[in-house]
Each structure stands twice: as C-alpha cells, then as structure tokens.
Symmetry: C2
Subunit: 307 residues, 2 copies
C-alpha cells in the first residue's frame, strides 16, 4: 500500500463541566487526508482544499509536523505527499487542528501497517495541537482518533478513558462564523478558581460521567453546567445566552461552549429534539444577524477511519 485516504471527525471538547478533560466526536463533519508515500525523505503538502489560510510549509503545517515526527520515530527513509481537505473550519471551536492532526496520525500509521498504539497516535497528534495553540492538549485529539466520549484523566502519564454513550444521545452544534482564537480564549481565563466553585464543577463531572454510564439523560442534562469557563468565554460569543436559552426551551438536555468557542453545542435525547434545537438555533441566530452553520450529529462511535 502506498496511498491512503482517511477521515477524522470534528469534536466537542470541554463539554461544559469537563474543561480540558472531556470531549466527544461528531459524525460526518471532519477533515479528509490523502497520503501518498514518496521514495525520498521529503514532505510535500498540496494546497489545502477548504477555507482558512493554512500554511503548506511542512514545519508550519499541523499535518506536516505530525507526519514528520512519525517518520522520524520510524527512522523512515521515505517521504509523504499530503492533500488535506478541511471539513472543520479553523477557529470554529470544533477541533479543527485536532481533526487535521488526528487524521494525519491515523493515516500515517495505517500506511506503515500500524506500528504505533492508539495512545502513541494521540501523542503524535498532540504535537499538532501544540503547533496550533502552543499547548499540547488531548481533549480534542483523543475523541477525534478514538471516537465516542473520552476523558483525559492525566497527561503525565497520558491516561485516556473511553466513556460509553447512551444510544439516543444526539448533539446539535451551531457555529457562528466569527473567529475566536484559542490562545485569546485561553488567556482571558482566570488562573485561580475558588475552591467552593471547583467543588461544584467536579460534582458535575461526577454527574456527567455517571449519567453517560447509566443512560440517565436527565442527569446528563443537569450536569452540563459550567461555573468556571462559560461565564468568561461566553462574552466572546455574541448572543450566547440567547442561543442556549432557546435550545433548552426546545428541549435540549443541556448546552455549552464547544472547545474554546465560538461554536455552541447542545445534547438532546433523540433526533426529533436535536432537530427542534437546530431550528431554535437557526431562528435565533438569524434574528441576531449572525452567519452560521448548524450540524446535527450522533456522538460518533468511530473516530479516525479509512474512507
């Protein structure tokens, strides 16, 4: 095999109470990467298919950086030609850099006949996250690679937990097309939190994980509460509280900021409710005069895959 085409999904990280820890994979929306093995040690990145202004210089491109690290680890004498089609917009808060990093880690591993473990793939993909935002976080790349709902229990050592998802749990996401830079949305966070607020937050983390394991949709909804990040980051998202209010009125279990925003996610029980939430998002965002995309998705059981 000297060619492969793979896909890695968009992801929702943080999931309200689980800042920097929880994340889940969407279905269908994602990045596609075509790889071709080259006989010499070069990495060539074709012009990127999709919006945004991403560099095609290998050392400045997420796919290039991830692929280079993997080729080095394999001590390979070969190179790669890469063609990326962006399905996740940079700056959307839907794990754009993670989708690119993950699809690369997955595809290179497949092309070389799976020399790396899942955990190693997450570690390679984290290098792409570091290039994109300065921080090697894993809460998007873990679900983008492994699918489903994941928790990063620890970074040192890296410990990824896969949490089961109830059958009827659907996500509705609205991406208001304004750019929120991950770095800015990280820098405005306070570095200290009150202990009593942190306790409320981990109470909700316990509730959310318990709700997912026990298919208790109401508990999932009650636990989607964020006392720490949402009050600060929501300021960067015009109409955030209107959007979430109308989603809840339409029957959503709960809502939150996807990653560092500006996308807003909601979870619902069943497709009909997820669609009603999409209509509510649509109506409200139209009134607010925001350009936007809306996605309805099951929480995807599969992450990165060959297509």
């Amino acid at each position: 095999m000297n060619r492969i085409k793979a896909f890695a999904p968009a992801t929702v990280a943080n999931v309200s109470c689980g800042f920097d820890v929880l994340g889940f994979a969407l279905d269908k929306v994602g990045d596609v990467l075509e790889l071709e093995l080259l006989p010499n040690q070069t990495i060539i990145i074709d012009p990127i298919n999709g919006p945004g202004n991403l560099s095609t210089e290998p050392e400045k491109n997420i796919c290039g950086v991830v692929a280079k690290a993997m080729l080095d680890a394999l001590d390979s004498k070969q190179g790669l030609r890469m063609k990326l089609t962006k399905g996740v917009l940079p700056g959307s808060g839907l794990g754009s850099s993670a989708a690119s990093a993950s699809v690369t880690a997955f595809a290179v591993n497949e092309l070389f006949n799976k020399p790396f473990s899942e955990k190693q793939l997450v570690e390679f993909a984290m290098l792409g996250e570091k290039l994109a935002s300065g921080t090697a976080h894993a809460d998007n790349v873990a679900p983008a690679l492994l699918g489903g709902f994941t928790a990063i229990r620890s970074y040192d050592p890296l410990d990824i937990i896969r949490i089961p998802v109830p059958d009827e749990l659907y996500c509705t996401v609205i991406h208001p097309k304004i750019e929120v830079r991950t770095e800015l949305s990280r820098n405005i966070l306070k570095k200290q939190v009150e202990l009593k607020i942190a306790i409320k937050q981990w109470g909700n983390v316990a509730g959310l994980v318990a709700g997912l394991y026990s298919s208790n949709y109401d508990l999932i909804g009650r636990s989607l509460t964020d006392y720490i990040i949402e009050p600060v980051r929501s300021r960067l998202i015009p109409g955030y509280y209107e959007l979430t209010k109308y989603a809840l009125l339409a029957g959503a279990l709960g809502c939150g900021i996807s990653g560092s925003g500006p996308s807003v996610f909601s979870l619902s029980k069943g497709v009909p409710t997820a669609q009603k939430v999409a209509e509510a998002f649509n109506e409200k965002a139209t009134l607010l005069g925001l350009p936007f995309d809306i996605y309805i998705s099951k929480i995807a059981d599969k992450g990165a895959r060959v297509i």
Copy 2:
C-alpha cells in the same frame, strides 16, 4: 410500632479526588439508636453509650436536633426517648456525626411509617451535620443513609447520585487515635486553587467514577489522587505518607484521607490484599507509636437499617 432499633454505618467522605462530593459506606462499624415513642412532646436523650463527651441536651445533640426537626415537620404531638450507642468515634474522620444524624433520620422515619423520601431524610440528617461542624454537608450522610458509593452533584437543589461498586472492592481504614477537629481541618484549606490543579482533580473524578462503573480496579487506583486537600490536611496526621506508602507497597489500589482525617483509607481488590494493607498499617502505626483502630470492610451496599 412504638419502638425501633436501627443502625447507620461509618462512612469515608471525599475519597481523595472528590472533596465534598464523593463518599461511601462501611460495613458493620456504625452507630446504633434505640427509639421509643413518648405520648407528650418531649425529647429525652439517655446518657450516650460510648466514648466522647456528647451532650444529652436535645438542642445540643445531633440526634435531638434531627429528631426535633422531623417531629416538627410531621406536626407531631408525640415525643421520643433516644438511646444512642456510638460505634463511630467523634473526630475520627469516619462520619461520626453523620452516622448519628443518619440513624436518627432513618429510625424516626421508620417509626412514623415512612412519611419522608430518601432525599428528605438526607436533608434532615444534614441538620445534624450543621450542628456538628457548622456546615450542612451531605457527603457523609448520603452514603450513611443510602449505602454504597455516592456523589453529591449539587446542593441547590440537592442531587445525590448512587454509583455502583465493583464486587471485589474492599476498604481498609486506620484510625490513628488523635483528634482532628473538622472545623480546624476545614479552616486550613486554601480558599483558592489554581485552575490547572483543579483540572487535574476533576480529571481524576471522571476517572474514579468511570472506574467504579466499569469495574476497572487499576483505573480506580490511578484516580485516587488528590492535588488539593491531601497536601494540606496530611500535615495534621502524623506518619500520613509513611502509612500510605506502606499500604501501596502491600498492594492497595490507592489511599487517601477519610473525611477531614485523621483516619486514612485505602481501597483494594479482594479481601487478601485488604488484609495485607491492614497488616502494613498495623506494623507502621505501631512503629510510629500511634494508638489506632483498623477496620477492613466491603463497601456496604446497604446504609441505615433496622436491626
């Protein structure tokens, strides 16, 4: 029925990462309360059977306060004679006040033919906690009343989650007989935590809850890590790090401070390991010259009960 005898168990609250949220019930060790219905509106508390110096004045006694609130809520014209036998030592960190409050809430409810819900019983028992420590916390009374492993997701409204426990999970507790007052051990905590530390803590909460649901003993062990409370409170417990080190060497999955201490708990897979941990605790505490009690217990499925 005008008499009842009931039991409520000792409990381990906090459980390392889950400060003020998580707790579980022990087997066998606990408080016993004998209640007798009186024809007039008085509460009489017989001298307390057991160590400690607890008041028998109804308004200064945990059982008295809880019983009075319940009689008032029932608009009862009757009274109660109460005889408490303490099996949980005050100031042990094993939920002494919670055992007394919970056995009262449970027994009064039984005697009046169960007019209150489980949640209401927790709320009544919390009044006893408030009398004892100034704070109406529920992380001991919830497992003391309901049994098993519990999480307090929220106080407003009160939301208690019962988390399943793997069959072979056993607890070994050592109670070094020094007094650590709940109020003091609460006052020495810092009121602010670093966000990055809080994130590690809720990563472990996610891991612990996932480990309990999936019977993943190793994950339970890895998640029993406390970055916030243990570094401060362990100073009040002579030999804390020696005790936990030797418990881990004996095969414990993990360790932590029980409640506000000084008791130290460990969780193990299976009775033989729990016994080895007990031996390690015994040996080390003897070397340290501490007087102590040691208990080995399954995490009790049942909480308060008629005996």
